[in-house]
Amino acid sequence: MNYKAQFTGAVMAVAAAMTSTAVLAEPGAWSDEPVRIVVTFPPGGTSDLVARLLAQQLDTGFGQKAVVDNRPGAAGTVAADYVAQQPADGTTLILSNNAPFTISPTRFKSLPYDPIEDFTHVAYIGASAPGLFVQPSSGITTLEAYVAQVKETPMTYGSSGVGSISHILGEAVDAALSVESIHVPYQGSAPAIQDFRAGALDSFYDMVVQNSDMIEDGEAVALAIASPERNPQLPDVPTFREQGYDIVIENWVGLSAPAGLDPALRDKIHETVLAVFAKPEVQAKLTDLGITHVAMSSEDYEALVGELIGVWAPLIEAAGIKE
């Protein structure tokens, strides 16, 4: 009886030792179970592609099995609520972004989760910036000419939806330039751009790098980009900031976990994710998606999410999309 218990204990200890060595043997793995990266969008979008890139890199380069789990719906709040309720053991992560973390807290009357308290924000990945595009036939090539034109006759602008980043940027530009333009929401940027090309829209807001073909082909004029600095891929497009308007609105992605993640585990994941995105070929893929990678500590990232809620709040209120 006693022997048997001892024996079982010994087997378990050996098994435990073997599993932990197995974990330690892999260069960057933090769990011997496959990790799920929850994405707030359906398959196919930029976020999904980033998550798949990360999952594939974790698997091949760091021995950490990872799968992508798409849980779209209700501006990303469905996915965030789900992740908040999962165990904080590093096996469930969310590809965090503006919608559920910095826009929804202001936009919706009540949220089933707290974007700061219920999460451990682990790693910032990078951001892409939207900008303002006008018709080449309008003859407008500068922000000043745009302001002059809009003050005379209000222009229509297309966005990728109510409460989308392009809509909020449109509202922010209207406020900063003290003009009033007419917002025309679309479902995603593709139909907005189609109407712009058909001549139905005067202007539109969308991610700048993704539309570099239109700029090069002379189908649209990019007046300004909402990033802090010019994008190296499009050095000719000026920022709002350098033209005297302090508008910085970026579409960022990061990796977050449920609250209460062990700090050592958090550091381990953070370190691995940074190592993934430090690879030049991975950065090149991010650049193709229009995302500029920035390395940031977990503390800075967590602080950034909190700070952005405050930055977005007045913009969301100005956009009139509060529930």
């Binding site: 359906p42 469905v78 229509t156 139909p191 189609q194 999309i321």
Partner: protein
């Protein structure tokens, strides 16, 4: 020849082993589902939807398309052998087909439908190849006002010519429109009619409504109408090929059916059933054998089959070039494309030429596969009708649930599908057609979106609808359809009234 070059490019795409395989899976599954009485292509789509998430857009589209036209081939089998249409459109085929089967000529009927389906499919394919590039060019200049007019035309056409009568059709379209308003309002961001249920914030997914109404509803209806014992007709292989005279009599009906089907299919809002019914009605008037219609004639099975198959294919024209789905299955195609980040519209042809022309070429490949599946291998499908439904239907329900769950990984969606399925079944009992409802559900939100967008762009001036030539023309056609529908309803009413009066007058002398 630009089109020929594009087409051969598409053929190269579809002849890649992977695409060939998915084309085959599509047409095979389509035939399988089509053969089963009462279960249509919508249920088949739900079953393969989870697979399509893991494919590239081209094989996924090729496979989904294969299911649709494969189901039309298979649908005729059940309608000929059992007089139970496998798909709604095949009910027209049953009129002559089952008479032929009763005469012991089921083999000839099956052979003729397969041949006619093939002919119709090829006609539809040629129409797509010729018409789409032209329409796409035209659509490049489409403004929201023009889209609004196209969709309105589709909705009016769908309700005016619905099978259960115009009034019920309109009621179903409006029910669909109302269901479509659930969720976040696209123009203001306000949530509407969600009753506090967070899962409803994004509205009800098209697949859920489609699966509930068609998949679940059809299964319940089929269980209730159990016909165990199934196929009593056997196919006599010695009398499989039509006589020389019948061969000759097939040719003209296939051409006529294919032409009518292509035209009806390309209109948004109308579908294969209407195409088949109209083609049959026309044939009944122009055929040299018109006197024998109703007793089982070969042209009578050929014409609806050619029409429904060509309509199934030309339905892709408005779907892919305008992004306006012409029928409920096409709405699923659009949904599937959106998952890949591809927005169907006028630029699809130039931005995704391999996908578009690959799809067109797959119609040729798929139809050849179907000809092989449905002529030499017809015996397999006939035997399929003998599989006990107690195994078949639960399997289908399970597959539907899996398909629905895979959309959002959400159990709520399964419950919603089952509830809609029961409601859909009850509506069926009262002869309310689910198709117009689904079309209203899909097109309603699109119509609202384009209407409000038009008003925003015109700064509130409704005159744009009549000053833009495209929208003005489409609205004029819509008005004509309404006038025609009112006129024909009034006429049938008057006739019915006259008939009733006439018969009562005849009875009077007897009473006296």
């Amino acid at each position: 020849m630009d089109i020929l070059a594009n087409f051969s490019q598409g053929l190269l795409v579809v002849l890649q082993p992977e695409n060939l395989m998915y084309c085959f899976i599509g047409v095979f599954l389509g035939t399988f589902i089509g053969v089963l009485p009462g279960i249509g292509s919508m249920a088949a789509i739900a079953m393969i939807l989870p697979i399509t998430f893991y494919l590239d857009p081209t094989p996924a589209l090729v496979m989904i398309a294969g299911v649709f036209y494969g189901a039309e081939y298979g649908g005729s089998t059940a309608s000929i052998l059992l007089n139970v249409p496998g798909t709604p459109a095949a009910s027209i085929t049953a009129i002559e087909g089952h008479q032929l089967a009763k005469k012991g000529r089921a083999g000839v009927a099956l052979f003729s439908t397969a041949t006619a389906s093939f002919g119709g499919g090829i006609i539809g394919m040629v129409v797509i190849a010729l018409l789409s590039p032209f329409l796409a060019k035209l659509a490049l200049s489409f403004a929201p006002a023009d889209y609004f007019a196209v969709i309105l035309l589709g909705l009016i056409a769908a309700s005016a010519v619905s099978n259960g009568g115009a009034l019920k059709g309109i009621a179903m379209v409006i029910t669909g429109l109302m269901l479509g308003t659930i969720g976040i309002d696209l123009t203001t961001g306000v949530t509407r009619f969600t009753m506090g249920v967070p899962e409803l914030r994004d509205g009800i997914h098209i697949v859920i409504v489609a699966m509930g109404l068609f998949g679940v509803g059809e299964v319940i209806a089929s269980i209730r109408a159990t016909r165990s014992g199934t196929a009593t007709q056997t196919v006599d292989y010695s009398d499989f090929y039509p006589s020389k005279k019948e061969w000759k009599s097939l040719f003209a009906p296939i051409l006529r059916g294919g032409a009518i089907g292509s035209f009806i299919g390309a209109l948004p809002g109308t579908g294969q059933t209407i195409a088949a019914a109209l083609a049959y009605a026309v044939e009944k008037r122009v055929s040299p054998q018109r006197k024998d219609f109703g007793t089982g004639v070969v042209p009578g099975v050929a014409v609806p089959e050619a029409a429904n198959n060509s309509a199934t294919q030309t339905a892709f024209i408005p779907t892919l070039t305008l992004g306006v789905p012409g029928s409920p299955p096409m709405a699923i195609v659009i949904g599937a494309l959106m998952i890949y980040g591809i927005t169907p519209g006028p630029r699809l042809l130039t931005e995704q030429p391999d996908m578009f022309w690959g799809l067109v070429a797959s119609f040729l490949v798929g139809n050849i596969m179907l000809l092989i599946l449905n002529v030499p291998l017809i015996g397999i499908w006939v035997r399929l009708l003998n599989i006990p439904y107690k195994y078949m239907y639960p399997t289908i329900i399970v597959l539907i649930c899996m398909g629905v769950y895979s959309l959002n990984n959400n159990v709520f969606d399964i419950w919603l599908t089952l509830v809609i399925g029961v409601v859909g079944y009850v509506m069926r009992l009262f002869r309310f057609e689910p198709a117009p409802l689904l079309l209203g559900f899909v097109l309603g939100p699109m119509m609202e979106e384009h209407l409000r967008r038009t008003m925003l762009l015109s700064r509130g001036d409704p005159m744009v609808f009549v000053t833009r030539p495209i929208s003005a023309t489409l609205l004029a056609i819509t008005a004509l359809i309404i006038v025609f529908a009112l006129y024909s309803t009034a006429r049938t009413h008057r006739r019915a009234l006259a008939a009733r009066l006439g018969s009562s007058r005849k009875e009077q002398p007897n009473e006296l």
